[in-house]
């Protein structure tokens, strides 16, 4: 290797690298030995520059940055940290006082011992549920429960509940239920058979409220 080829090795050695690779050459070459000393002096001088004086002297910078931080994170750092607590409390209170639709036992009123919850296997024949509609309703011959398309049928011993709901007739027609009415905006009161998993499985229409009847 010639002197120019050693140059890179000498610089790396002066920076704290492996000196063994250049030692023999340095011992025999005065120019390269001087170059090595020069580079070692550069390393030592550069080390002097990294000291405590090389820091931001202006203490106000940190204060200003924290002000900026507070402006950028107005809520996330403090208010939002616990914001979920009142929200959760409000949601819990809402759930506690929400007027739940009463599950209506699918049994005749006279059978006092009949359970409100039954299994699919022992589901009794549908019985018309007495109710007091506020508006005049067109009575519908409450037939058997019609399975809702694309839902799993109830297993033989699966528990289920019946819930009575009011819903647009259009929705029932869209779901594939055979309902004939001239008023597409009518409301239907229906019994919905809800499985143990909370999913509606079957439905039957009890009565229909047509808008023309309100006049």
């Amino acid at each position: 290797m010639s002197c120019p080829e050693y140059k890179a090795e000498i610089i790396e050695a002066a920076r704290g690298g492996d000196r063994r690779r250049v030692r023999v050459h340095l011992d025999s070459c005065r120019a390269c030995s001087e170059f090595f000393d020069e580079q070692t002096a550069v390393t030592d001088a550069l080390r002097m520059l990294v000291g405590p004086s090389e820091a931001v002297q202006y203490a106000g910078v940190e204060r200003q940055l924290l002000k900026e931080f507070d402006a950028a994170w107005p809520a996330r750092s403090r208010a939002w940290k616990w914001a979920w607590v009142p929200v959760a409390l409000a949601a819990a209170a809402l759930l506690a006082f929400w007027p739940h639709p009463k599950p209506i036992p699918l049994v005749a009123k006279t059978s006092k011992t009949a359970p409100a919850v039954f299994t699919a296997a022992e589901a009794p024949a549908p019985v018309a549920i007495p109710h007091k509609p506020k508006r005049r309703a067109a009575p519908v011959d409450a037939g058997p429960f019609i399975p809702i398309p694309y839902t799993m049928p109830l297993a033989p011993y699966e528990r289920a509940q019946v819930m009575q709901v009011d819903m647009p007739v259009a929705e029932l027609i869209a779901a594939g239920l055979p309902i004939s009415t001239s008023d597409q905006g009518a409301l239907a009161r229906a019994d919905v058979l809800v499985g143990d998993d909370g999913r509606a499985r079957a439905v039957r229409v009890v009565s229909i409220f047509e808008r023309s009847m309100e006049r």
């Binding site: 390393t43 002297q57 910078v61 931080f69 994170w73």
Partner: protein
């Protein structure tokens, strides 16, 4: 990593800890590259304000936060140079400016020598020799091959060596 996670969640103390750990390196780089203590303080502030507004931009898989912040600092320095160029026709003075400090004459001389280096040599000296970053980190920072970083550093050190030698010759 926990500090970073807490900072991203809006923890003020975590941000303060990050600032205190990394601002000296950011400031040093800005000081040597701008040659102006006031400007370096401004750049340091700009870097951390940027970090506050871009907490998710740092990807730990691509290197440590210190190296990432040096990259951000470099961008602010370059932006400052671009602005200066719009108003000053010849920016020779800008490049030759040495940071104004209350250092010993020897140290001031060295600062002047570093400030007189061309920008691409100066930044390599600052990152590799003053900040102790590896060639790989510097290559990632400057978006150039490792061989380029090495050759620039060697050239810069040769220039610094000559200047120091000349100064010693004058004082002798």
């Amino acid at each position: 990593m926990d500090l970073l996670r807490r900072f991203r969640e809006g923890d003020r103390e975590a941000f303060t800890a990050i600032y205190r750990a990394h601002h000296p390196a950011v400031f040093r780089f800005a000081l040597h590259m701008s040659g102006d203590r006031e400007r370096a303080t401004e750049i340091t502030q700009e870097v951390f304000v940027w970090l506050i507004h871009h907490p998710g931009d740092y990807d730990a898989a691509r290197g440590e936060l210190g190296a990432f912040l040096l990259g951000v600092t470099r961008k602010f320095v370059l932006r400052g140079r671009e602005k200066e160029r719009r108003f000053v026709a010849f920016d020779a003075d800008y490049d030759r400016a040495a940071p104004e400090t209350g250092d010993e004459p020897d140290t001031q001389e060295l600062r002047r020598a570093i400030a007189a280096l061309p920008f691409r040599y100066r930044e390599v000296v600052v990152v590799c020799d003053l900040e102790g970053r590896s060639y790989e980190e510097a290559a990632a920072l400057f978006a150039c091959p490792i061989g380029t970083v090495r050759s620039r550093l060697h050239r810069a050190r040769e220039l610094l060596g000559k200047k120091l030698k000349a100064r010693q010759g004058c004082s002798a």
